[in-house]
Symmetry: D3
């Protein structure tokens, strides 16, 4: 059940049955020569759809622009500052809490969002904590790519070629839903995947084509289907 | 051409041919008993797709959550504060300007966003103005529902029944792309459409089912197709 | 009755009779070679005085500096950023609401303030809306230059020569109260009045002497008196 | 020479002769049973006018609303938060600096503004200091009521009856320019003038009629004229 | 070498030899019935001292108050909001970067700071990234309690009794430097250590005496000495 | 009794006996060729320790980084922007107020903090004042160097050689507790101590070695002991 494709009386009814909402949150940033710029927003959207097929669940609108300052040296990347994203998350949470939602499950597709979203949760909770009152809210951040089943499957399918950005796993997941996202490009050998993430120009010097240790070309629709299945199961577990 | 479904080298190429990007911006808010909560985000998305069919154009990610504080008394509505939305728009513009985009065309689906997005433009421009340097940027806000052709067609199709929120025009436009959005609900007679917009509870008292002077039930797929055509033509005109 | 020239016990009494206050809001910015830099602040002040002559009304202090970032390339212009003006308006509204004022009527003299003041109202109302409580406040923004009577009279007096910045109407209105504001300068023919408003240097390139399509030299004390009368009547209507 | 009653070419000329501007800054707050709510804004305005009579000086628009949170329990008081006033002062300074003004002389009428305006100066200077570049700006805060001559005269005229809020000195200064500001009210004996300033309700409990140790009723037009003369001389000295 | 106990010419000399500074960052929050409220600030201070004994290193002032909103239901805890701490870290980094420091090593004693400090780094880097210029800065966050050697030793010494808040490891580390911090209190059996961290009252309900799964009473001076040694070695490794 | 070296149950007990806490606040900034960079933080710490020896008093953690933008042209200085320090002070106050503290006594070692901390107090109080409710808080700012006894003693010991930055008094006070802080450097004659404080480069031009009119070399341990005694007595008086 999608919030965007529901009416308000339908949400009113839903709230009598459940106090939970899933909010996909991603990023708009380069994913190497073959990965889609929308990868990190599309992946949690795809996983959320899979979740809603298995359980009655309300899926909120995707927050497609996240914290991607380190990708800004690649054309097409869009970022919010951390201080902006904190305000966005706080306003979204406050809007939903006011309707009676008690469990807000952010299904995240981007590693770069993690710290900022956690800081945003603390910013929200701080309002209650400073006032010494209960918030009554369960805010969760679940990174689909860090679930147990997904981790096991990625290692099985790609081993060390998974890398950490523009991974064959995330690109496969996009392919499973967007046939038009397939690209055939000769990729150069990657530099070492490890290394710090700092500003955008530093990032591009370290990772000239945008990938971090990943052999993106190993992605396939078929892998994507299996990854989706694993990610949905992981996310439903995390939802509790 | 969608930013989300492109790679960064493709955007690099695009920037050699064009410096323009269309960014759909909407809202997540109640649209009466039969309208989708995502109406204001879906409409500019649909229109942007139509634009891209007629001209080579890059379409950015939809900013689905806007300034909808006055709808918060209806379940499912989500709002950013104006001060938050200003930061979001500034960060998005700054991200894009850094890549070399010179025309950023916000295609807007929500009246409640207008003042805040214009304030955001001024906030962005103020940085250049205070420093007495050129911004070199053309920021545009186009409201699809206020185009000349759309206005004429709405009056022809619905006359005074158009109203100003949950209008048959916007609901038709959604129907033209989302068959599953059709709802059959007996609607009560509406209160007068005019009146000030203030806080959320005041709004709900004035407009108990969420509509403002609109006979939403007049919406149809067929009307939606014609409206889409008109809106695309209006938007392409505005784009210049 | 002016707030600045009253004592607090007098305001306490006033609040027993009325819950309404008029707050003139303007700008400090160039108005072409013959218009006063204070035009946009002086005009609503003059109109507010006229209103108070006809009805018992409390007039607050003039907020003389507004959102004029696009005028900063002309010496003497002063601007607040939109984000600053939003905070100013919110603080003023909150101060007054706490005393029991229920209708705060911002009488505005500057087109560039409109979006930002409306965003400020929404920022204020959002506090109540997010908390799902009533604000009980009626905030109004009335632009004296957009009233029905003023529009009719401007067209009658100046037709297409009115333009949209440094207009003979606003300059006349200032002249009606400030004899020393009369200037005799040979004006060059104006460029076309239409065109987008962006940053300050862009604005000055488009409008080298600061006027936008206006023949400012048509202004006169006599016209100003008639315009004032019309503006007062329009504003009293809007006040309700 | 008043900025509000000048044209931009006149300011352009002025800047060839001088890089200095005087900006009156005040407050809108209760001044006891007989003092005007606008006292703190009117006083620096009156003094600035006197300065401009003696020397060619540009006088900017009065910033009439200041930091008066502790007066909010008295009807009619309006306050900005310190964080808001800091932004206002920074924006005003930045606007003026961009035109080439090098000495910005804030002529202040309100003790409650002092800390915040000084913090605002530091906020402005910090931009240059963090970037290790020169600001080239001379920002001054001059409190008319703390000048040497004014101090001597106040003691001579009123001795201990001067107090520290709603003082006969400031009320006299207003009277010297606004005949209509005279009020005859029987004043109760004042409580002790000393004591901390905290929040608004605490302030009102300590100073039930708003005065702090002042016999406001000693004010007169004649005293006001002498005080004005002293204040003008003090301010011109401070200006350098 | 401590910044606080150096003169500026000494720092000028140091910068000719090294571009690195260590900044201890902690928190002021409850650490169960026997742990010091300053534990999280004292620990990195102690470790930093140890580092400076082994290598020439500049140690900055300890940032003693961190992000501890979830501990506010216990008397004595002090917290900054995440949005405040982000500003603090950005200002500190900007101050140091301006002097020529290139490696700023935040030695952290508090898990609750991690997300916010990482968001602060991104906020700082975003300035360069949005402007597409190099920051030239290496910002590091090292959590002393998560080093390899410390982890191994904690497991060896305390096994499952380590828990995750008010741990015997951190309390031992404090004891190694502050004899007066020893407390003998009968501790009740702990509730399960796992569980989400939300607002302050929720935290206190889950962990009534403040500990999270830790047998704090196992702490000792001797253990602290060994832990310190391990932590110093880990931190020097991380410093590179 | 130090907060950092107490447990939360001990603070709970303390709050049954007293509602007062002393918070040392300083700065990290150059103090001339012989003064410690930490002088302004160490001094109030030393004085607070002295206070706690004479009366049962809780001493909070030292806020070591203050508002020192004008010192940033000297290596090692660290500053918060005024807007940042305001937030820090507000968060600290709010944390403590929530525990039941009613008197928060900021013991300050840095003149540059005064305006900003006072603005922060007003920012905190404004929350209550805008809401027309009681804060119930007594916030105090005491500058140890401006106490009556300290002033008398400084004049006696150093006369005009005291100056206003890197003073022999403050350096003596540090020496009284930190033997290792003694430095022997040949000092050049100082420039005039008076003069405005603006941005960092302007400050360094006026005061090339960082001192303001002070003969820092007159400092001694013995003087420091006497100054400490005086400062403790002054602070205890101010505490009430």
């Amino acid at each position: 059940m999608k919030l965007q494709l529901s009416t308000w009386p339908e949400i009113e009814s839903y709230l009598e049955r459940s106090r939970c909402i899933v909010v996909p949150i991603g990023s708009t940033e380069q994913h190497g020569p073959t990965g889609m710029i929308g990868t990190d927003a599309l992946c949690p959207e795809i996983v959320a759809d899979g979740m809603a097929e298995q359980r009655e669940l309300l899926i909120g609108p995707t927050l497609s622009v996240g914290m991607a300052q380190h990708h800004l040296a690649f054309p097409g990347s869009i970022s919010l500052r951390p201080s902006t994203l904190i305000r966005v998350v706080v306003d979204v949470v406050e809007s939903l809490a006011g309707h009676g939602f008690e469990q807000i499950f952010f299904l995240n597709g981007h590693g770069g969002n993690i710290a900022t979203v956690q800081a945003a949760f603390a910013e929200f909770w701080a309002r209650s904590s400073f006032a010494r009152r209960d918030s009554g809210l369960n805010l969760q951040l679940h990174n689909w790519f860090q679930g147990r089943r997904v981790g096991r499957l990625s290692r099985e399918l790609f081993g060390d070629d998974e890398g950490s950005h523009a991974t064959p796993s995330e690109i496969s997941l996009v392919l499973s839903a967007y046939a038009e996202a397939a690209r055939t490009v000769a990729l150069q050998p990657e530099r070492p995947p490890s290394g710090p993430i700092r500003d955008a120009r530093d990032f591009r010097r370290r990772h000239p084509d945008g990938r971090m240790g990943a052999r993106s070309e190993l992605a396939s629709v078929e892998h994507g289907r299996r990854i989706c299945e694993a990610a949905v199961a992981d996310a439903l577990d995390a939802l509790g």
